[in-house]
């Protein structure tokens, strides 16, 4: 304590030591922020594989991977939105709508089955983006309305939810969800590819840099010459596309357009992104973190399912509690970072 005080009172070269020490603390907090979720994931997986014989079996892992894939694709789009400082609550409904449209469209061929959900969900995302960026409405209210709208369209398409469209199992579209490559389901490979592409776009392209700039400080980004409105419209469109595609992929996997899916998925996706270390205030985040967040949520779910005596409702309690914990930790780390 006294040492630091004398250091600060001595001006000049000695004071330069301060930032060095501070940067170590800063590096530590940044490390915790970036890899905290990964550490938790590894620890939980290790405990689970020791505790449950059935955890580390190929079947269980493959199952977890496939069921994570759809949420992961939604979380991918959500990451872009959250890095700009926004939020997209419509993805759960868009996921369900995408699935139903894909199943309905699959009777006209694979191209329609993929293009229709992408077009409709992308369009809803585009409208979200325009209302948020051009009309300057609050993101959460616009996307809440879009959530209702998409749910309404879904009900209208399925005769108020009474019709479930089935996908012909022999169709190429169904094979997209069913087929395995090297023992792992095709959806997992597709998701992995999308994540690599997403990471490259966010890290290595001009658009990605604009996304960070808009989230960091919108006014500064505008002054810098970044196309703020266009970037925002793009991220919401991207999020809509991701949700629609995830829904389509899920329909191919289930070979039907299940109408009751997707409620609460927006919350899961946001939770995964936040747990992965992306800041909700925008400007900071990374794609790989969201993948870790999704896997962590799915491992928690799997472990709770393995403990047969526990009600599946506990999963929500644990996820919610975990989310709160991560957010508290993040806020605390963020504050420490700013202080040092």
């Amino acid at each position: 304590m006294t040492a630091t005080r004398t250091e600060t009172t001595v001006a000049g070269p000695l004071a330069d030591d301060e930032p060095l020490g501070a940067s170590r603390g800063e590096r530590l907090t940044a490390l915790a922020q970036q890899h905290g979720a990964l550490v938790a994931l590894l620890a939980l997986s290790a405990v689970a594989s020791v505790g449950f014989d059935s955890f580390l079996t190929g079947d269980n892992l493959e199952n977890m991977a496939v069921s994570s894939a759809f949420l992961a694709v939604v979380a991918l789009g959500m990451t872009f939105v959250i890095v700009t400082g926004g939020i997209d609550l419509s993805v759960g409904s868009l996921f369900a709508l995408g699935g139903v449209l894909a199943a309905w469209g699959s009777q006209y061929g694979t191209l329609v089955a993929l293009a229709l959900p992408l077009a409709v969900c992308g369009l809803i995302g585009l409208v979200n983006g325009l209302l948020i960026a051009r009309a300057r409405l609050a993101p959460f209210i616009v996307t809440l309305a879009a959530m209702l709208l998409a749910r309404g369209v879904l009900l209208a398409v399925t005769d108020e939810g009474s019709t479930t469209y089935l996908v012909d199992e022999s169709a190429f579209f169904a094979r997209l969800g069913q087929e395995k490559l090297l023992g792992v389901g095709l959806p997992v490979w597709i998701t992995a590819l999308l994540f690599v592409a997403g990471a490259v776009v966010l890290r290595r392209t001009r658009f990605g840099q604009y996304v960070y700039a808009v989230g960091g400080n919108e006014d500064a980004a505008a002054l810098m010459g970044a196309p703020v409105a266009r970037t925002k419209v793009a991220v919401y469109t991207l999020s809509g596309l991701c949700a629609g595609f995830a829904g389509a992929l899920n329909a191919a996997w289930l070979v039907s357009g299940v109408t009751i899916l997707g409620s609460g998925m927006e919350l899961e996706a946001i939770a995964a992104v936040v747990i992965g270390g992306t800041l909700l205030s925008g400007g900071f985040g990374f794609i790989s973190g969201s993948l870790v967040g999704v896997l962590l949520l799915k491992v928690i779910q799997n472990v709770i399912n393995q403990i047969g005596s526990l009600d599946s409702a506990y999963q929500q309690v644990v996820s919610g509690g975990f989310l709160a914990l991560v957010v508290v930790a993040q806020t605390w780390l963020g504050r420490r970072r700013r202080m040092v």
Binding site: R136, G152, V317, S319, V327, V328, W332
Partner: protein, 320 residues
């Protein structure tokens, strides 16, 4: 001359916009009411008015708490889950009599509100995220406490749900009394004044020496208590506890009522009268669509359009 008259017209236009923003929701209610009187058979009947009043009561009560949260420049997404939690608690503690059960349910809601408020005020988490976490956890907790639907067989609860005074249902009376009480709190108490000051500018309120944290926590505790009470009333009306579906999308309806009622999302201003009218407007709209046999899909799409239109119309006001 022309310039002057032009200016006059422009002034008129801004005044018109202002009037529309401030009183549009009341006009909407009146128009929708009159349309229904003309086109909907059996609309003007005591029975129908009772039904509408009973249906709107829980939404309205939740919206009152939501108005406080939004007035503090926040939002409370956990209200639907608090309703579910409250219905679970009611059914668990009904053995001790309805009053104890109601008390426990409301206390549960206040606890959730306390957690929300502490996360927001002390830790500094964004309101959307803090209440999101409790929304997920609260629904889970409700399901852990009561895994499935359970009938409520209690004469007291049944009377609360379907009884009334002079033909006016208890639910409507309670909702009206709460609306008056919350309006009084916002307008006439120190707490209300402080809440609006914080919503207007938190740093300024802090610099002025207001107990920012205490007031914020108070707002979310009130919101939790009101949501729990709405859960109690909804349970009494249904004479069943259904933690799976009670209160789902309630946060959406409540936010819609508040926003349509002219309370800006940017905080610093709360309109309780408008919130009441907003809740009634949404209820009338839904009832109209249902009575004319339009499917639920249309109701949802219409509600989405109304939300966006209301927020769009109100967007200028926040800046002024």
């Amino acid at each position: 001359m022309t310039e002057l008259s032009l200016r006059g017209a422009e002034l008129d236009k801004t005044r018109m916009v202002r009037l529309l923003q401030d009183y549009g929701v009341y006009a909407g209610v009146v128009v929708l009411f009159l349309v229904n009187v003309v086109v909907t058979p059996n609309f003007v009947s005591a029975e129908n008015f009772r039904t509408q009043a009973v249906q709107v009561a829980p939404v309205l009560i939740v919206a009152l708490g939501m108005a406080l949260a939004i007035g503090s420049e926040g939002v409370d997404l956990s209200v639907g889950s608090v309703m579910a939690l409250s219905t679970s608690l009611i059914s668990l503690y009904l053995g001790y009599g309805p009053w104890i059960a109601i008390l426990v349910a409301v206390l549960g809601g206040m606890l959730v509100g306390l957690a929300n408020g502490s996360l927001i005020a002390f830790v500094g988490v964004q309101p959307i995220v803090a209440t999101l976490a409790l929304m997920v956890a609260g629904r889970g907790l409700a399901l852990v406490l009561l895994p499935q639907l359970k009938d409520i067989r209690d004469p007291g609860m049944a009377a609360l749900g379907s009884g009334g005074v002079l033909g006016i249902p208890y639910l409507a009376l309670i909702a009206a009394a709460l609306a008056v009480a919350v309006a009084f709190v916002v307008r006439r108490t120190t707490f209300g004044r402080r809440l609006l000051a914080i919503g207007d500018s938190r740093p300024a309120a802090q610099l002025a020496g207001l107990p920012v944290r205490r007031v914020l926590i108070g707002a979310y505790v009130l919101s939790g208590a009101l949501a729990a009470l709405a859960g109690v009333l909804a349970t009494a009306r249904l004479t069943a506890s259904d933690p799976t579906s009670l209160g789902t999308l309630m946060e959406l309806s409540a936010i819609t009522a508040v926003v349509v009622g002219g309370t800006p999302l940017s905080g610093g201003r709360v309109r309780i009268g408008g919130t009441v009218a907003g809740a009634v407007l949404i209820q009338l709209l839904t009832a109209t669509l249902i009575k004319h046999d339009l499917p639920p899909s249309w109701t949802q799409i219409a509600q989405a359009v109304v939300i966006v239109a209301a927020v769009y119309a109100a967007r200028e006001r926040g800046k002024r």
